[in-house]
């Protein structure tokens, strides 16, 4: 589904990604862990098409097509979704009113008919229930005055509405209390299928108790320096990142 080869990217002359390789197949859950500043959000943003980053090398294929050639909105319409680490506030735009535009643009792109008002509402209700989010929150200006947990649940709500093929969750678990974490994890697990894939960017092993990954990768200094299974996450939880850094710095 997603094939990243030797991906390099920089921002303002600063090299951040220094050759990333990653293969994600349908049905898989990949966790990407790593210390702060290692480039996790950069990777997520580059995949989603943020223009601030300059890709200086490598390639990314998504379902056989060149992802890097596509504009951010085309990527989304092809099925890529990014849950932001820091969702932006947009005064005057409510989740409800832009979700309708988004969903219908995606459907049109995929050759489906626009949803009528009734079907749209039905879908809204269903997904609201899934992430236990209130209508009133969705009618308010996007993220304005939302608590941290509300912002994150809103991201998962949007993901549920859009049903992406590849979901990238950037630290959706940070700052969540255990109830909110359970709700978010339940949302992700419910939406998981044999056809779609998930990349979880996280700091903590905690989320991985609820969403069990098939693979765990450690990103350090712009490179994946170690890959393993969920046991690797436990090891990191226990021993921290220092041994990884030492190993990586020694080979570098």
């Amino acid at each position: 589904m997603l094939s990243i080869k030797n991906l390099q990217a920089r921002i303002e002359e600063k090299e951040i990604l220094r050759g990333i390789d990653l293969e994600v197949k349908p049905g898989e859950v990949h966790a990407i862990m790593g210390p702060n500043g290692s480039g996790k959000s950069t990777l997520a943003s580059v995949l989603a098409g943020r223009e601030d980053y300059e890709v200086t090398g490598g390639e990314v294929a998504f379902q056989g097509n060149d992802l890097l050639e596509m504009d951010a909105d085309v990527r989304a319409r092809e099925g890529v979704f990014l849950a932001f680490q820091y969702p932006v506030e947009i005064p005057g735009v409510s989740t409800t009113n832009f979700m309708k535009t988004a969903l219908n643009q995606i459907r049109e792109h995929q050759g489906e008919k626009a949803l009528d008002a009734v079907s749209f509402l039905k879908r809204m209700k269903e997904k609201m229930k899934l992430v236990e989010i209130d209508q009133s929150l969705l009618s308010r200006s996007l993220n304005e005055g939302f608590s941290g947990g509300e912002k994150k649940r809103n991201e998962i709500f949007q993901m549920a509405m859009l049903e992406p093929k590849l979901a990238i969750l950037d630290e959706t678990d940070s700052g969540l209390d255990i109830d909110a974490l359970r709700i978010v994890a339940n949302g992700v697990n419910t939406l998981k299928s044999a056809d779609n894939a998930t990349i979880l960017v996280t700091h903590y092993q905690r989320l991985l108790e609820y969403i069990v990954p098939d693979f765990v990768h450690v990103l350090y200094n712009g490179k994946i320096v170690k890959s393993g299974t969920k046991e690797l996450a436990l090891e990191l939880e226990e021993k921290g990142y220092d041994w990884i850094k030492e190993e990586a710095d020694a080979t570098a």
Partner: protein, 441 residues
């Protein structure tokens, strides 16, 4: 004689004023004409605002007229058909309609307003019938010594409306004034003077809409005088979505008596050069004044909103919100003055001006001016100018929304609070559609 700015304009107006006087016959001795004479004298002595004028610093209207208009042309005949006239109307607006064609009141296209509590008279008719009836209404709010365009208007304006609303009258339907100009064959210049008197506890809405059709340049010089009595509620809308060759200057003066409420909503959507002077005097306690403005500019359009709210007495409230979106090489100017006199304790005055520049060539000059002589007041002002929020744009795009659509969503949201406070549904829909169309290009 000292050298004045706009001498060529004054020269051509001089011969026009002479022939105007000759045409007057009986009216030449009226009190109104005495005022006209002295207004014209002021104008010929002082001329028009020159390049050093502080008030017209960013908007050299005088030069624009000299360059683009040939004021000698006599008023052209109106040749547009009825279809074009009705195309200028706001769909679904249930209102008393008054139509001016090339600045001249059209009895044929206007409604006869026969509603209890309100009297709407054409100014031309009122002048002919008995110009005494205009005493205490005409030239009471606007001061021709302070602004050359007011002087020009005072000297020449023969058309407009006189609206008198009786005490306690609540007028359901707004009065809408459509000004339609035919510039298909030649240039057009006209002066409009509207006099509005709202009685105690009365309530009503007046709407002005300006449309010019055709390739040639036009100059509209409008003056409105509002007198708002105790506890009256008056809403005034001004909609300019004019041709790219239209030069428009307006001076709106309102004075408010105790506990009255006045709202001015100004929408500048197109034109060559637009200058709106809005002056509100809060003359007694307990007044509320709202000034809302939206300017949505493209091409070479230049729009300048100059507002003054004068807090003369205690316990008044004023709230001003102007927002602008500028594309192309358009230019926006905002100058908002809040004046709080020594006597005006417990004043609450708020002002905000926000701008988005969509192109490198678009510019805005914004200047809040606070002059506060009282010590117990709450005043705040703020202005921002920036580009479209790129983070927000990326967020919407990352949800699958095309860039232009995402841009339109953000701009519509930016302008939305100025639509939300439109209480007339038909106007809200009308403006909403124009804005959506313009922003989704």
């Amino acid at each position: 004689m000292e050298k004045i700015a706009g001498q060529t304009i004054v020269d051509s107006l001089t011969s026009q004023f002479e022939s105007f006087e000759k045409s007057l016959n009986g009216q030449g001795k009226s009190a109104v004409h005495a005022i006209r004479k002295s207004a014209f004298e002021t104008l010929s002595n002082h001329g028009f605002p020159g390049p050093k004028s502080e008030a017209y610093k960013f908007t050299n209207f005088t030069k624009a007229i000299e360059k683009n208009l040939d004021l000698d042309s006599s008023s052209p005949t109106f040749g547009l058909d009825a279809q074009l006239i009705s195309a200028s109307e706001i769909a679904g607006l249930n209102a008393h309609k008054i139509v001016f064609l090339n600045g001249i009141y059209s009895e044929e296209h206007s409604d006869e307003v026969e509603v209890q509590g309100i009297k709407v008279t054409s100014l031309a008719k009122a002048l002919k019938a008995d110009s005494k009836s205009l005493e205490g209404i005409f030239n009471t709010q606007a001061n021709f010594e302070k602004d050359a365009f007011v002087a020009m208007n005072t000297a020449f304006a023969q058309h407009g409306v006189v609206i008198e609303v009786e005490a306690n009258a609540v007028i359901e339907k707004p009065v809408v004034l459509y000004f339609i100009g035919d510039c298909t064959k030649s240039q057009l210049t006209y002066n409009i003077r509207n006099l509005v008197v709202a009685g105690k506890f009365s309530q009503f809405t007046v709407i002005e809409k300006f449309d010019t059709i055709g390739e040639h340049a036009s100059l509209t010089n409008a003056v409105n005088e509002f007198s708002v009595a105790e506890n009256a509620h008056v809403q005034y809308y001004k909609i300019e979505n004019d041709s790219g060759k239209a030069y428009h200057i307006s001076n709106t003066h309102a004075s408010q008596a105790a506990n009255s409420n006045f709202t001015a909503n100004t929408y500048a959507l197109n034109g060559a050069m637009v200058r709106n002077n809005l002056n509100i005097k809060l003359e007694s306690e307990g007044c509320e004044a709202y000034m809302n403005g939206l300017y949505l500019l493209d091409g070479k359009t230049h729009v300048d909103n100059h507002t003054i709210v004068d807090h003369m007495k205690p316990n008044c409230y004023s709230n001003e919100l102007y927002k602008g979106i500028m594309d192309g090489s358009s230019k926006g100017v905002f100058n908002g003055k809040i004046f709080v006199r020594q006597d005006a304790q417990q004043t609450n005055a708020f002002q905000s001006n926000k701008n988005i520049l969509l192109s490198d060539k678009a510019t805005v000059n914004t200047k809040p001016q606070l002059e506060i002589w009282a010590d117990d007041v709450k005043c705040s002002h703020g202005c921002t100018t920036g580009q479209l929020d790129q983070e927000a744009l990326f967020y919407l795009q990352s949800r699958g929304i095309q860039k232009d659509k995402a841009r339109a969503i953000l701009l519509t949201a930016f302008a939305s609070d100025l639509l939300e406070n439109v209480s007339n549904e038909a106007i809200k829909i009308y403006l909403g559609e124009i804005i959506a169309q313009r922003l989704e290009k």
